[in-house]
């Protein structure tokens, strides 16, 4: 994977993704190896995303690397009207690898074609956010001991959530994944993604009631439902409280069930779930650091 950009989860083969997950285990065991002490990594956040940025910066700093960049475009030359091409050309001269977050879809792909400096896409609008997908896969593998034969429920906004789309596509590479899709009628998984599941020889079921899946799944992947996704505010009011997970609902769930959430959460997981051993969302966020370390090390040819 040396010098290869990661823009979309589909850029890497199943074997390559598994290799990154394997390397991440090594960093989880020992996250403070100073392997990046001779490297400068650019972190270009054209829109703010504190969570993702801190995770990347922590990953880099723990490995002894230096970070240059900006945290939102208002404080950069971009505001003065510089083209993305010029920004990337310039920053490439100062750094070994560029991590970028940009509100425009396809911007990371475009940036990766400007010159040879590898790019890690930290989110391009509603399009892709592959490191989130990697950390989700890592969390599933770690908690279940496998990525095959799993029952995975996705709950909430399945229509607009790119995290869900990417993870569904990634999990479709594995044997016998069964998808349980729980959402309001208005926010069902797009047809193209469902077709992808079927074309991979797998199956899915759709539900509107979260209680219908809790007892049969290994992974419960919760997402936020945003008011602005509804054309009719009354519709939002009707559904907003029906996708909230409470501790009492988990009583008869499987022992190996783990609850994931890409964070930040608003109210879709009640705080009384946090102390349940099945709550895994904070460890999931921490896994993001190890996966990003593994990715940086692979792309820079250090693993």
């Amino acid at each position: 994977m040396k010098n290869r950009s990661l823009i979309s989860i589909n850029d890497y083969s199943k074997e390559e993704l598994l290799k990154i997950l394997k390397i991440a285990e090594e960093f989880e065991a020992n996250p403070r190896q100073k392997i990046l002490s001779n490297y400068v990594i650019a972190s270009l956040f054209f829109e703010p995303s504190t969570r993702t940025r801190l995770s990347f910066e922590s990953a880099i700093n723990q490995l002894g690397g230096r970070v240059i960049g900006f945290t939102d475009s208002s404080s950069s030359s971009v505001k003065k009207g510089e083209s993305l091409r010029d920004t990337i050309e310039t920053v490439s001269l100062y750094s070994d690898l560029i991590v970028m977050r940009h509100p425009i879809e396809g911007s990371a792909r475009f940036a990766s074609e400007i010159n040879d400096t590898p790019i890690i896409n930290a989110g391009d609008g509603a399009n892709q956010h592959p490191t989130q997908c990697l950390l989700d896969m890592y969390s599933i593998q770690k908690t279940q001991g496998t990525l095959d034969n799993l029952d995975i429920a996705f709950v909430g906004d399945l229509k607009y959530g790119r995290t869900v789309h990417s993870l569904v596509i990634a999990m479709s590479m594995f044997k016998n994944t069964r998808f349980h899709l729980v959402s309001p009628e208005e926010l069902k998984l797009p047809r193209a993604v469902k077709e992808f599941i079927l074309s991979s020889g797998l199956t899915y079921e759709q539900y509107t009631d979260i209680n219908a899946v809790i007892e049969k799944v290994d992974i419960l992947y919760m997402t936020r439902i945003q008011a602005e996704r509804f054309a009719d505010p009354i519709e939002y009011e009707k559904v907003k409280n029906s996708y909230i997970l409470e501790n009492s609902m988990l009583e008869n769930s499987k022992d190996n069930l783990r609850i994931l959430h890409p964070l930040p959460r608003v109210n879709e997981i009640n705080e009384d779930v946090d102390t349940n051993d099945k709550a895994y969302y904070f460890q999931q966020a921490q896994n993001g650091v190890f996966v990003r370390q593994a990715l940086l090390a692979s792309i820079l040819g250090l693993r």
Binding site: S8, S83, L84, R85, P103, I104, E105, G106, S107, R109, F110, D124, G125, A126, N127, Q128, A192
Partner: protein
Amino acid sequence: MNTKKKELKVSAIANGTVIDHIPQGHVSKVMNILNLENFEDQIYFGANLDSKKYGKKGIIKVSNRYFKDSEINKIAIVAPTATMIEIKDYEVIKKTSVKIPDEVIGIVKCFNPKCVTNHENVITRFTIIDKENLKVKCHYCEKITKKEHIEFL
């Protein structure tokens, strides 16, 4: 064949290519894609001609010019029904239907207003994921555009 011969007689060319069965309204796009606007030899073109197969159609006749398959296929996305007829000494020597290519570079505009190709100076690029129903996927934003939403640059 009879109708074809009649048409060719109207403004027959001795040598060159006739691009027939261009869908109504797409003659100038085909000219543009094949870069015929700057072509120096004779070109005849017609629009709103009657076609038995397609109702109305357009036609372009280019003197002393033949096209490579790769050039021909570029017009497939705007004129999937088009036929290329090569003429030598007033005789038809070859007839080819255009084939939808695997990829289109330039020509098509991405319908996604948030796509980088609509914000930065980037040449558009699409893979054709469904040749029959003409569905294209943007190389950049990865959005799929259906036939009815395809716009040309």
